[in-house]
Structures are given as structure tokens and as C-alpha cells.
């Protein structure tokens, strides 16, 4: 699961686009902002799963 963020951001061809925009912010920029939060969320889920098992 922790590998998902790697797949999401390590190939810029996936997201080096201008559109769609949100509030005038290019896709390239807001996609990466979104992944900062998503990646932190994934780490959080892994953390919870790890300690629930105990």
C-alpha cells in the first residue's frame, strides 16, 4: 500500500497537464497537492491497521 504514492507521482507524464483546472490552478500543481494529503492518509491507514492487529 505504501508503494501507491510512488506510482502516483514518479511518472510526471501522468499529471504534467494544464487541465482540468480548479479555481484557475493547473492540474500539475493541484494533483501533487492532493497526493500530499492522499499519501499521508494511506500512511495513516497502514499505521492503524498495524496496531489493530495487536
Amino acid at each position: 500500500m505504501l508503494l501507491v504514492p510512488f506510482a502516483a507521482v514518479l511518472d510526471p507524464a501522468l499529471y504534467a497537464h494544464d487541465h482540468p483546472r480548479i479555481a484557475g490552478i493547473p492540474f500539475f500543481v493541484w494533483y501533487q497537492f492532493a497526493w500530499v494529503l492522499l499519501a499521508a492518509g494511506i500512511t495513516g491507514v497502514v499505521y492503524l491497521l498495524r496496531y489493530r492487529e495487536r
Binding site: 505504501l2 510526471p12 500539475f28 500530499v36 500512511t43
Partner: protein, 493 residues
């Protein structure tokens, strides 16, 4: 007015730093106490401390300058921090557990015991110190750029900033860095939030800002893709190998604190992204970089131009204090490496804990004097370039520091030879670009692509380490007892 606010804030943090020695007081002549704050920092303090050691002048000055000068490539900083935390989440907790159980203060302590090799430990320690020095110099440079924007004579104010930094670090150690980190964060967050709301309002909104930026700077060119992703991956792997980020982690009170922080630290990454966008705003606002500091002066110049004087003073003080915290942690980390892993090996009798702490303190002081001298003597463009070189070098310690945690079969000799190969190739390629770039044009399967030098060197390094280790176990090399913590939280998941 600007200067008054600036001076007031600096006086405030000096008082905080000197007071810090009494906070949760321990015996400051012990290295654990001075250098790791007694390993008692909980989630809250560790969050500030790690935030203070990861998000540095590099984020406040160099990244926005890169966006201002070169455009979208500067956003690799977001991608690299996105991948850095999963790496930290996997590697740092096991390192913390071993270090806690065996009393390691530096990563070289771990390497020395894991490989039973003083040579490898010394190599890792030297790499750490050499990679940290330009990073530390970059922090001092950040303070210099901010002060210069206020129009104060640079030599005088730099000396003053240095005395403050050296004084509080020497007296209170990591505790002062931790307390100042809290104050610094309040100042920085206020500055960034005001900047990303107030400046776009004055410039006509975000869509207007982005509309003013040409497509070439607003987006990556396909030829930049390979450089972007290798820089992001390489920097992401390197981030938590730096002695100062490891010091921040080892000072926490448990491995779970580190894991939780990997979830919450990315909040700072949002801040870094917002700062990167300020690089675009500087273009739209028509800020002109100064001749002396080039693109690196655009953020201080933007604040100076857009904010009322009192708040500009506040913002510039925030950036300077934001550089003091990592500078202090870096100096402490370099001091520890020297006293534990170099000085100790040079003397015949193991030094007493008190002597060790004294050597650490003196080294951290020397390192800071070195950084200021470096800044005053060397042209500023080199400061940033040597910092990039530091990233290439520190990455070569990955097999010894991280891989060794998970692979009990890693061979000592193979790891040493891998390090030599990685360092040699990395340095050769850096020299070939005259230290002007951290990427290098390679021909891969007929396609010409610019790749991050550090990652290429790490590839060669890993190839040597893995082949060598495989050969050694085939030839019946001694199997090594894996060095992992035995405590109740240590069971693998």
C-alpha cells in the same frame, strides 16, 4: 520599523533558547541529554523538531527561487516529499528500536555494530559530515539573504546571528532547537498563510497569477520528465539519511511517535507547496532579484515589496529563525558524528561521556564557524550547488544505514566497495558538470535523458553491494546475526 520587529523577534528566541536547558532538565554533560534531549520528546515536540529539521532554508528560499527561475521543475519538491514519508515510515522505526536498545546516538554507531566494521562506520560518518556542511552553509546563507533585504550591513548581522546560534546550541543542545522550533513554526505559519492569502488578493487572484505565467514555466516539458522523477525519488530516499533528520527521529520517545509523525508531518509539505507557488507570484509581482543573491533573493524581495513594513520585518525574521533551527540541529548532528565515530577511534582509551559531550559541543561550534566562513568566502551560487552535491553523497549511505536493517545477509566488504563505487561515480559526474547541475545527460537504449546523478550512483552502489553479498554467501561467508531490537514492539509486521 522593519528592523525593530526583526530585532525584537530575535531577542525573543534567544531568551527561549537559553531557557531551554532547564526545560525537562537532565544532566547536560551526558551526550544523550545534550544531543538527543534525553530521548524523551513526544509526538508534539517531535513534530516541531522534525518539521524544523526537514523544512529548511532550502524550502523557504531555494525552492521558490527555482520555481521563479526555471518554472514547474521546482515542484519536484512536492513529489519528493510525497515519497519520502513512506520511506521514513518503513525505515526509521526499526532504526529507532535498535538505537534505543543499544544506546546508539548516530547512524554510524549502528553501522559499526551491525557490520562489526570501524572502517564502514567511519566512512558513513565522514559522508554525513561532508554532506551536512554545505547544507548548514545554506542555512546561514538564508539568514544572510533575509538580513541583506533589510539593508543592514551583512558582516555585522551575520556575526550576530552566528553568536546567537552558537550560544544557545552550546548551552542547551537539542532542547533549545526543539523549543525554538515551536516559536519558529508559529512565525512561519503566520507568514505563509498571510502571504498566500494577501499577496494573491493584491495580484488579482490565483487564476490571474497562473494565467500570467507562460506555458513553458507553468508545466513540465517532456524532456524534463526523467530528471523530475529521478530527482524526486533520489531526494526522497536521501532525506532521512541526513544526520540532522536522523537526530530529530532518534530523539523521539518511541517508534510509534515516529510513525505517527510520518502521517502528520506532510502538513508542512502543503506549506512548502504554497511557498513554491510564491515563486510564480514573484514573477507576476515584477520582483527583480538583487545582483548579489540572484534568484534566491526573490522571496525576501517579494515580502518587502508586498507587505507593510512591520509585517515584512516579521516575515524576514521568520525566515531567518526558520534557518536557525535546522542549522542548530545540523551542527549538533555533525558534532555527534565526529565525537562518537571519528574522535573515539583516534584515541586509545574510550573517552568518558562528559569528554564525548565536550568534543561534540566543540565540533558543532567549529562546524558553524566553518559555515559562516564558507558563506563569506565562496560565491553564493556554489552554496546551492554544493548542497546538491551533498544529496548525491549522502544517498550512497543507503545500503549501510537502511538496507542493513532488513537484509541480515549484507556483506561488510561488499557494502564498503559499493560505497566507494557510488561515491566515485557520483563525484566524477558532479565534477564533469563542474558542480553546476545535479542531473546528467545519459544515453539509455538510444534515448537521451537527464537523470539525477545521485540515483544513478546509488544504482551502481546497490549493484555492487548485492552482487558482492551474493558472492560472499555462495562462497560460504560467515552468516551474521541480524542486529534488530528484541523488545516487545520489535516483532516484524
Amino acid at each position: 520599523m522593519e528592523i525593530a520587529v526583526f530585532v525584537f523577534l530575535f531577542a525573543l528566541i534567544t531568551a527561549v533558547g537559553l531557557f531551554a536547558g532547564r526545560w525537562r532538565a537532565g544532566d547536560l554533560s551526558q551526550l544523550d541529554e545534550w544531543a538527543l534531549g534525553g530521548r524523551r520528546f513526544g509526538s508534539f515536540v517531535t513534530w516541531f523538531l522534525q518539521g524544523g529539521s526537514i523544512y529548511t532554508t532550502y524550502a523557504f528560499i531555494a525552492i521558490p527561487a527555482l520555481v521563479y527561475g526555471s518554472g514547474a521543475i521546482g515542484f519536484f519538491a512536492l513529489a519528493y516529499l510525497i515519497v519520502a514519508y513512506p520511506v521514513a515510515f518503513v525505515c526509521l522505526p526499526p532504526l529507532w528500536r535498535v538505537s534505543h536498545e543499544r544506546g546508539h546516538v548516530t547512524v554510524s554507531d549502528f553501522v559499526k555494530e551491525r557490520f562489526s566494521s570501524t572502517t564502514l562506520a567511519t566512512l558513513v560518518a565522514l559522508t554525513g559530515i561532508v554532506a551536512t556542511l554545505p547544507y548548514l552553509a545554506l542555512q546561514v546563507y538564508g539568514i544572510q539573504v533575509s538580513i541583506a533585504e533589510l539593508g543592514v550591513p551583512v558582516e555585522v548581522s551575520l556575526t550576530l546571528a552566528f553568536v546567537i546560534l552558537a550560544g544557545i546550541t552550546y548551552v542547551s543542545g537539542l532542547r533549545s532547537a526543539a523549543l525554538i522550533a515551536i516559536v519558529k513554526d508559529v512565525l512561519i505559519w503566520i507568514t505563509v498563510l498571510v502571504a498566500v492569502i494577501y499577496i494573491p488578493i493584491r495580484l488579482g487572484g490565483y487564476s490571474h497569477v497562473f494565467a500570467q505565467i507562460g506555458p513553458a514555466k507553468r508545466n513540465l516539458h517532456p524532456s524534463e520528465f526523467a530528471g523530475y522523477s529521478t530527482l524526486a525519488l533520489g531526494s526522497g530516499l536521501a532525506l532521512f539519511l541526513y544526520p540532522h533528520t536522523i537526530t530529530g527521529s532518534l530523539s523521539s520517545s518511541s517508534d510509534r511517535v515516529i510513525e505517527r509523525n510520518c502521517v502528520f508531518l506532510p502538513l508542512y509539505t502543503i506549506m512548502l507547496g504554497l511557498l513554491a507557488i510564491l515563486g510564480y507570484m514573484a514573477i507576476v509581482a515584477g520582483v527583480h532579484p538583487t545582483a548579489a543573491y540572484g534568484d534566491n533573493s526573490v522571496i525576501p524581495a517579494l515580502f518587502q515589496k508586498m507587505f507593510p513594513p512591520a509585517f515584512a520585518g516579521f516575515a524576514l525574521a521568520a525566515i531567518s529563525i526558520g534557518a536557525l533551527v535546522p542549522a542548530s540541529i545540523m551542527a549538533i548532528a555533525a558534532g555527534n558524528l565526529f565525537s562518537r565515530n571519528i574522535y573515539r577511534e583516534l584515541v586509545t582509551h574510550p573517552p568518558s561521556p562528559a569528554t564525548e559531550t565536550r568534543i561534540s559541543k566543540l565540533t558543532s561550534l567549529t562546524v558553524k564557524i566553518g559555515a559562516v566562513a564558507f558563506i563569506l568566502a565562496v560565491p553564493s551560487t556554489y552554496v546551492v550547488n554544493f548542497q546538491l552535491a551533498g544529496g548525491v553523497w549522502i544517498l550512497q549511505t543507503l545500503p549501510a544505514a537502511f538496507l542493513a536493517l532488513f537484509c541480515p545477509w549484507l556483506d561488510r566488504l561488499a557494502t564498503i566497495v559499493g560505497w566507494v563505487a557510488g561515491m566515485a561515480l557520483g563525484t566524477y559526474l558532479l565534477v564533469d558538470t563542474s558542480f553546476q547541475s545535479s542531473t546528467y545527460a545519459f544515453d539509455v537504449l538510444g534515448i537521451r535523458a537527464r537523470l539525477f546523478i545521485g540515483l544513478v550512483a546509488l544504482g551502481v552502489n546497490l549493484a555492487v553491494v548485492l552482487t558482492g553479498s551474493a558472492l560472499s554467501s555462495l562462497l560460504g561467508g560467515r552468516r551474521r546475526r541480524p542486529l534488530t531490537a528484541q523488545g516487545p514492539t520489535a516483532s516484524p509486521t
